[in-house]
């Protein structure tokens, strides 16, 4: 759907530039066109500069990682980062399983059912403030509630839940924004056809908002991939995992959600702050490169899924 809108906008642009040239002559039109060109050049240059900067950082990280890579370090045993890679994916997956439904529900509540009074402004401000908490505070809060009060030790589940505290506000906010920006005629049309508010929200508005919600999810997952301070206190800083043991009841099984687990970001943090092995920096560099690739793959595939969904919706069924 978005694609269609963009195409429409694009063709409109072309038409306008053609029709504009025939009207030329008045000074202010010329000025406006000059401004248009100048701004286009300036903005494109800025975008290009930033992309170059970001690309430089990526290439630098990948290069350092590639230089450090050995088959041994890439393996799933001993000093290899395979364990951390698995932990990262598993933990973020668990966390999204909690975050996405809660975040979307809360977003629906904010957009459709919370009304327009001062209460919603307070709630929204609360949520934004919550997302500005330093991770270490969320980590310590999570530690107190999820570890100390439950008398458990660091585990994946606690890490996933603590991460959810950080990310639910983000997804709730993006969902709310997305729902609000859906054209009101969709809503009126659906209500006019006899659908209830709930049906309209879920079947019409929510579907039209999928691409923006996916952006929210990607950002949330990204924060999960890169988060260290929250997980240090809740999921722990190391893991003893046996990849031949797929019995989820065993403490050394990779599938057990009540085992301690360090993610790539935590691993990097630990290596960069207290690792004293000879190759600590190399392992950290490699972990950073693996993490960059992981985030890139995740972001691309999430967007691809979103687009497919989008096309299916706008293609009509």
């Amino acid at each position: 759907m978005t694609l269609l809108l963009l195409r429409a906008a694009h063709s409109a642009t072309r038409q306008s530039s053609k029709s504009g040239s025939s009207n030329a002559g008045m000074a202010h039109i010329r000025r406006a066109k000059l401004a248009d060109k100048t701004i286009t050049v300036i903005l494109s240059t800025i975008a290009a500069l930033f992309v170059v900067l970001l690309a430089l950082i990526t290439v630098y990280l990948l290069y350092k990682g590639a230089r450090a890579a050995t088959p041994d370090l890439l393996s799933f045993t001993g000093f290899g980062v395979g364990i951390q890679l698995f932990n990262t994916v598993y933990l973020v997956f668990l966390s999204l399983l909690v975050t996405v439904p809660i975040g979307i529900c809360a977003g629906i509540f904010l957009a459709e059912y919370a009304g327009k009074g001062p209460i919603i402004a307070v709630v929204r401000t609360c949520i934004e403030t919550l997302s500005s908490l330093p991770s270490i505070i969320v980590g310590l809060f999570g530690f107190l509630v999820l570890i100390q009060l439950t008398h458990s030790k660091w585990n994946l589940l606690a890490g996933a839940l603590a991460l959810a505290i950080l990310n639910v506000p983000l997804i709730a906010r993006t969902t709310e924004d997305a729902l609000r920006s859906v054209d009101r005629s969709y809503y009126d049309g659906s209500i006019g056809l006899g659908a209830t508010r709930w049906q309209t929200t879920v079947r019409i508005l929510l579907r039209a908002s999928v691409p923006r919600i996916i952006t929210g999810i990607i950002l949330a997952a990204g924060r999960g991939f890169g988060e260290a301070a929250v997980l240090i206190y809740t999921a722990g800083m190391n893991s003893a995992v046996n990849f031949n043991n797929w019995d989820p009841t065993s403490i050394t099984s990779p599938l057990n959600i009540l085992r301690p687990a360090d993610t790539l970001a935590v691993h990097i943090w630990a290596l960069k702050t207290e690792g004293i092995m000879a190759n600590a920096n190399q392992i950290a560099d490699l972990s950073a490169a693996v993490l960059v690739v992981l985030v890139l793959v995740f972001s691309l595939s999430a967007r691809w899924l979103g687009n497919r969904f989008d096309k299916k919706m706008s293609g009509g069924k």
Partner: protein
């Protein structure tokens, strides 16, 4: 009767579920607020420091085991404000420019290339940014400005700007893309150039979303700790300019939270700082929202 039952399924059930989740977020927020308020209040209630000595003094030397020290946090408060403001000043214009490119100037490139690239940067851990800052940016700043060291407000602002850039850009681009095509076409039909359309239609339509992006970015700037801690220098003195070192609230919290024990004056003072940080972000958010609403009215 039957229609009521139907409505129960088609409306009330869903509404109840989302309301419960919506309320649960409020409860969670209040729980954390209460938790921070309770922990942070101890500096004043248990250890007997005055609010003024906490906010306006720069004598920071809290005690660890049972003794009495000083908890003046003015340096950290000013430092946090400086760094977050600088990061926002650097990142917001760039983010907006890139968002416009993604949404209107080059949507294809934006969708296929710019977005994925930008999103990667949310997932890079703070500690990696911190190390890049420490090993690349800080020496560079020192060389360019002929300083003994490059730890400074400027370095911290730059690192933070790179870190909050993806958040602001993604959210702002989404907001701009959500401009209804009819409005855009109407603008073009009236003879607008592309820039006029962007300025008068897309930017106005997307204002709320852009503000959300800026608020989220600012929030992250205020709360970011590990990367800032590595490049700010953490010197317990006010900055004399962009090129001098200082300290921030988050840096002092992360550097000492793990080294102090519950109930000590030091630990409680750190919790007070955490609570204060929350209040500072709250003020920022309210101000930005207020500005947004003023514009809307005019």
């Amino acid at each position: 009767m039957e229609s009521k039952l139907r409505k129960l399924k088609t409306e009330y059930l869903g509404r109840t579920i989302v309301t419960v989740f919506g309320i649960s977020i409020i409860v969670l927020t209040l729980a954390i607020l209460a938790f921070l308020g309770y922990k942070g209040g101890a500096t004043f209630l248990t250890h007997g420091h005055s609010l003024a000595s906490f906010l306006f003094s720069s004598k920071w030397d809290p005690a660890q085991a049972g003794q009495v020290g000083t908890v003046g946090s003015a340096v950290f408060i000013v430092g946090t404000l400086e760094v977050a403001a600088l990061a926002l000043l650097i990142a917001a214009p760039f983010s907006l420019a890139v968002a416009i490119v993604i949404s209107d100037l080059a949507p294809r490139v934006g969708r296929r290339f710019l977005r994925p690239v930008i999103e990667v940067f949310v997932g890079i851990p703070s500690v990696v940014y911190g190390w890049l800052g420490l090993t690349v940016l800080v020496p560079l700043v020192a060389r360019i400005f002929h300083l003994p060291f490059g730890f400074s407000v400027l370095s911290a602002g730059l690192v933070l700007a790179v870190m909050i850039f993806p958040t602001i850009t993604s959210v702002a681009a989404d907001a701009l893309q959500a401009t209804p095509p009819e409005s855009k076409e109407a603008s073009y039909a009236l003879g607008s150039t592309r820039w006029q359309m962007i300025r008068r239609v897309a930017l106005r339509y997307g204002r709320t979303g852009i503000l959300t992006g800026i608020v989220l970015g600012l929030a992250r700037a205020c709360g970011e700790a590990l990367a800032v801690a590595m490049v700010i220098g953490q010197s317990n003195s006010f900055a004399h300019g962009l090129l001098s070192p200082t300290n921030t609230i988050t840096a002092v919290i992360t550097s000492s939270m793990g080294n102090t024990v519950n109930g000590s004056e030091y630990n409680d003072a750190l919790w007070s700082l955490a609570f204060l940080l929350l209040l500072i972000s709250l003020v920022f958010i309210v101000v930005i929202r207020f500005i947004g609403r003023q514009r809307e009215d005019s």
